[in-house]
């Protein structure tokens, strides 16, 4: 399990690839499920120019570790990586990456989605958007992950 909170732009593919080379999966991993959340240039009908992400350092890491521990109780998964940006973010930049390695696909898919939904509802991050009008505002709540 690895949790990283980063302040600068990162390449999700290089990060996952690098993490994976350090795993001793040795033929045991049949399924990897990855989610990448990226900053959009619109929200709630307005054009967004940039975003600042605040977090509660310490509690973030504690809550994410707890979410992964619960996922490991629910599903047979081999390893997990979470990377989350904080600070100033521009459209198209990755905000969050979750990657779950498992023997079988159902476990990988379900654990990855579970971790993402729990992160959205429990990890202490807050987004402040800067609109193209230069007005800035706090995002009031996350949208539901259900269809």
């Amino acid at each position: 399990m690895t949790i990283r909170i980063v302040e600068t732009v990162f390449d999700p593919f290089l990060e996952i690839q690098h993490f994976q080379t350090q795993l001793a999966l040795n033929g045991k991993c049949g399924a990897t499920s990855i989610f990448i959340g990226t900053m959009r240039d619109f929200n709630d009908g307005d054009d967004v120019r940039a975003m600042t992400l605040e977090h509660y350092d310490g509690m973030t890491q504690k809550q994410l570790a707890k979410i992964i521990a619960t996922a490991k109780e629910k599903w047979a998964i081999l390893d997990e990586l979470i990377i989350h940006r904080i600070g100033d973010i521009l459209p198209n930049e990755p905000i969050v990456v979750i990657s779950v390695w498992a023997m079988h696909r159902a476990e990988a898919f379900e654990a990855c989605r579970y971790i993402m939904e729990e992160l959205k509802s429990h990890a202490p991050f807050w987004k402040r958007e800067i609109l193209t009008s230069n007005e800035s505002r706090w995002v009031l709540k996350n949208t539901s992950g259900k269809n």
């Binding site: 509660y56 990890a123 202490p124 991050f125 706090w138 995002v139």
Partner: protein
């Protein structure tokens, strides 16, 4: 005597105009009572509360040395 640290985040930090402060009380009290002692505005209804970085409900009673945090709904990911 119990001494606790209060922390505020995001929009709530801006509303109360402070990010961190220390309080000393003569007896234990609930986190909602802590809020009322520290702030003139009522606790906003959707506020989340954590003690020592774990979520608690507003009737949770603080102990000496606790870090109590108040913040709005989270919006990460």
């Amino acid at each position: 005597m119990i001494t606790i640290t209060l922390r505020y985040f995001a929009s709530l930090r801006e509303q109360v105009g402070r990010s961190k402060e220390t309080f000393t009380f003569s007896h234990t009290l609930s986190v909602v009572d802590v809020w009322q002692h520290a702030n003139s505005m009522p606790l906003p209804e959707n506020t989340l509360i954590a003690v020592n970085m774990e979520y608690v409900d507003k009737l949770y009673c603080v102990c000496d040395g606790d870090e109590v945090a108040f913040f709005p709904p989270v919006t990460g990911g």
